[in-house]
Symmetry: C2
């Protein structure tokens, strides 16, 4: 595999997580037709009241980079930005597994 993976943790401002989760679920919906996006899952951690983790797997990093400049993505990023206090990201190389 030459796939590209990401774990992205968004920490929302107090009281803003639920709205942020909805925007990220819209982003997930908008991925349905995006070529090269194999996985985009929105997750709520069990121990961080303001946290949201997004798990992504892409055909390669080029496909991921290209997705960020889609009109839909840029509009969603603009709506999400004021809700977000911090972003942490772990870049991964998926080497195999089940379900992808």
């Amino acid at each position: 595999m030459s796939e590209f993976g990401l774990y992205t943790k968004f920490t929302a401002h107090d009281g803003q997580r639920d709205v942020l989760v909805q925007i990220l679920l819209e982003a997930a919906d908008s991925m349905a037709l995006v070529d090269g996006c194999d996985l985009y899952v929105v997750n709520i951690p069990d121990d961080e009241p303001n946290g949201v983790w997004v798990t992504e797997i892409w055909r390669d990093s080029v496909a991921h980079d290209a997705s960020l400049s889609l009109d839909t993505a840029m509009a969603l990023i603009q709506r999400a930005r004021p809700l977000i206090a911090r972003v942490n990201q772990i870049k991964l190389r998926p080497v195999g597994g089940k379900g992808i």
Copy 2:
């Protein structure tokens, strides 16, 4: 969804990561027939020479817990344990997305 997700980071002892990755890929193969396992991906992070991350999504936490006592899983855990210096785990509730 009432699904259950996990990011598990294994930190291998120096020089042991490649062997650990192979064992985790065997674990991924053994998941093929395990009921309730929707995703099991082995990933190498780009900035930690001894790290391996496993991304899992299960139908629910009961299915995940049950998988740990399968003979194959127990044998793999026993082989992997001496290679591992540390384990960190993030428990997640997947709320939606693409690819699962």
